[in-house]
Symmetry: C2
Subunit: 293 residues, 2 copies
C-alpha cells in the first residue's frame, strides 16, 4: 500500500511492502496550504502516480489533509482509540486510480469536560505505543504541544498546551520582543534561566514581565532574552504536565525536544527520547488493522 | 503650582491652588508618542502657557514623560517609597519660563530578586494611600496590571501581570483570534465562562487551547470567544494575586475594573472600588512634600 503523511507545509509519501516496510519514498513541499483551488487529487497523482502505474491500488493518508481546510473533512474519533478503532473510522476520498482513505483525528474531553483535538499525531502515536509496550506518557512538542496518555495499548486521552504559539505571539506582538535579538537559535543559558524562574513564586503572567524588567536593569541581554521567554513558557508547561518522578517519552524535532528535555528534567521528571520519524510505521499499523496489509 | 500627568497617549494639566485643589484644567492629545522631534518644551508651553503668564512658576510632572522615550529620563526610585522619598528624588528639566520637575517611577524586587517597575502609577498610589488610610492591597488594571502593597503609609512593593498585553497578542497573533468577532465590548457571559474555567484543573497554557476546541465543537460562539479568552487570563491572574478573603482596592477605567471585580470575586476575595482620577491629587501630595504647596 501507499502511506501518505500530508500536513500543512509538506507531503511525505511512502511505498510499503506487505510487511509494512518502506521500500520507496517521495517528498513534496505541497502541504495543504500550498495546494491551490482544492487540486488535491492532481497533487497526489503527481507524487504517487508512478507507484500506481506499478500496481499499487490503496492509499492511506493522515494529517491535516483530513481537516476542514484539506481534501475531505474526517470527523474526530473520540478517545480512547486503538488501531482497530482508527481503522474502523477511515474516511473514503473520491479518486479514480486507487482506493484512498483518510485517518481521522482524535478528540477527548478533560476531567472538566473541555474538548481536545489532534490530527496527524494519532498515527505517530500508534507507532510509539508499539515501541513503548502500550503504556506511558508521551510529549510531542510543537506549536500546539500534545501530552498523551497511552494505556493498555490505546490512546487513552491527551491535553494540548499552546506554549509554542504563545511564544511567537508574545515575541512578535508585545513589548517583550523589543528586548530580543530574533535571529538564531534559542540561547541555552537564557532558556535555563527562564526554566529556573518558572519554578519560583508567582504566576506565568507575572513572570513574563521579568523579560522586560531584567532587560531594563541590564540583567538579561538581547541574546538571552528570547531563550528566557521560551524557558519561562516551556518551564511552566513542564511543571504543570510532567508529574515529578514520571518518565516522559519525547518525540519531535531535535531542537524542540532538546529544550523540552531540559525543562522536564528541571521539573523533576525523567525523559526518554523516541524516534519521531514514525508516520509510515503508524500508517502501516492502521493499514494492517484495516486489512490492507 | 501646575500638575501635569503626561502619558503615552495624552497629557492632562491641572492648576492647583495652595491647598492642592484643582482650579483649572486642560487636556491635550499630545502624549509622548505624538510629540515629534523631542518638542516637549514647546508642547508644554502651548498647554500651560496661559497659567505661566498668569504667575505660576512651578510645574510638577508624572508619567511616561520621565521615561527613556520622554523628555528627560528619571531613574526609578526603589520601594518602599512615601511622598517624602518621591519629593526628594524629583528630577529637574531644563525649561526657561518655570521650574519643571519630574516624579521618578518606582522599582522593586520580588522575593526571588526579579526587578519590577512602574511609572505614573506611583503618583496615583499616593492619593489612593491617603484614601485607604495607609494600608492595603491595590490593583490597577491595564495593559500591564499592577498589584501593589501599601503598608504604613508607604508603597511597600508591587508586582506586574501582563494579562492585558497577552490578551491582545493571543487574539491578534494566534489561531485563537480566528474564532473571534473582534469588535464590540467583551461579552460578559463568555468572560464569566473563562473565569470559571481558570479555576478548573490544568495550566493556563492548556486552558488557552479550549478557546479553539470549544469553538470547533460549537460550544463557544464567536461573540463569546474574546470574552472567554479575557476571562481565562484575568481569572488566572486574580486567583494568583488576590488572596482568598482579602480586600482588593480597584482603580481604573470602568470597563476594565468591572471585569477585574468579577474575576476577583470569583477568586474569593472582596472588592472595593476607588476613584481613579487622582493624578492631580497625587501630584499635590508630592508638591506639598517638596515644599511647593
Amino acid at each position: 500500500m501507499i502511506a501518505v503523511d500530508w500536513g500543512t507545509s509538506n507531503l511525505r509519501a511512502f511505498r510499503l511492502d506487505g510487511g509494512g516496510a518502506v521500500i520507496d519514498r517521495r517528498e513534496s513541499a505541497e502541504g495543504i496550504t500550498q495546494v491551490a483551488d482544492g487540486a488535491f487529487a492532481a497533487t497526489l497523482r503527481a507524487v504517487v502516480g508512478p507507484w500506481l502505474a506499478d500496481g499499487e491500488t490503496r492509499v492511506l493518508m493522515c494529517g491535516m489533509i483530513g481537516s476542514r481546510q484539506g481534501w475531505v473533512e474526517a470527523p474526530y474519533l473520540p478517545c480512547p482509540a486503538d488501531p482497530a478503532a482508527l481503522a474502523g473510522a477511515l474516511v473514503a476520498v473520491p479518486f479514480d486510480e486507487a482506493q484512498v482513505r483518510l485517518v481521522p483525528g482524535l478528540s477527548a474531553r478533560d476531567a472538566d469536560g473541555t474538548p481536545e483535538v489532534m490530527r496527524g499525531e494519532e498515527t505517530k502515536l500508534l507507532a510509539l505505543l508499539q515501541h513503548m509496550g502500550g503504556d506511558g506518557l508521551v510529549c510531542l512538542p510543537g506549536t500546539h504541544t500534545k501530552w498523551v496518555r497511552l494505556q493498555g495499548g490505546r490512546i487513552a486521552g491527551f491535553a494540548t498546551c499552546m506554549s509554542g504559539e504563545t511564544f511567537g505571539a508574545l515575541r512578535d506582538g508585545t513589548i517583550l520582543g523589543r528586548m530580543m535579538r530574533h535571529a538564531g537559535p534559542v540561547d541555552p543559558g537564557g532558556f535555563d534561566r527562564g526554566v529556573a524562574r518558572s519554578g519560583e513564586g508567582g504566576h506565568l503572567l507575572h513572570h513574563l514581565f521579568g523579560v522586560r524588567t531584567l532587560g531594563l536593569f541590564g540583567e538579561l541581554d538581547e541574546a538571552e532574552s528570547a531563550g528566557y521567554l521560551s524557558g519561562l513558557l516551556i518551564g511552566h508547561e513542564a511543571r504543570a504536565m510532567a508529574p515529578r518522578g514520571a518518565v516522559v517519552h519525547l518525540a519531535g524535532d531535535e531542537m524542540l525536544t532538546g529544550l523540552y528535555a531540559r525543562a522536564i528534567g528541571a521539573a523533576g521528571a525523567q525523559v526518554a527520547m523516541l524516534d519521531e520519524d514514525v508516520a509510515a510505521q503508524g500508517l502501516a499499523i492502521i493499514g494492517r488493522a484495516a486489512g490492507w496489509l
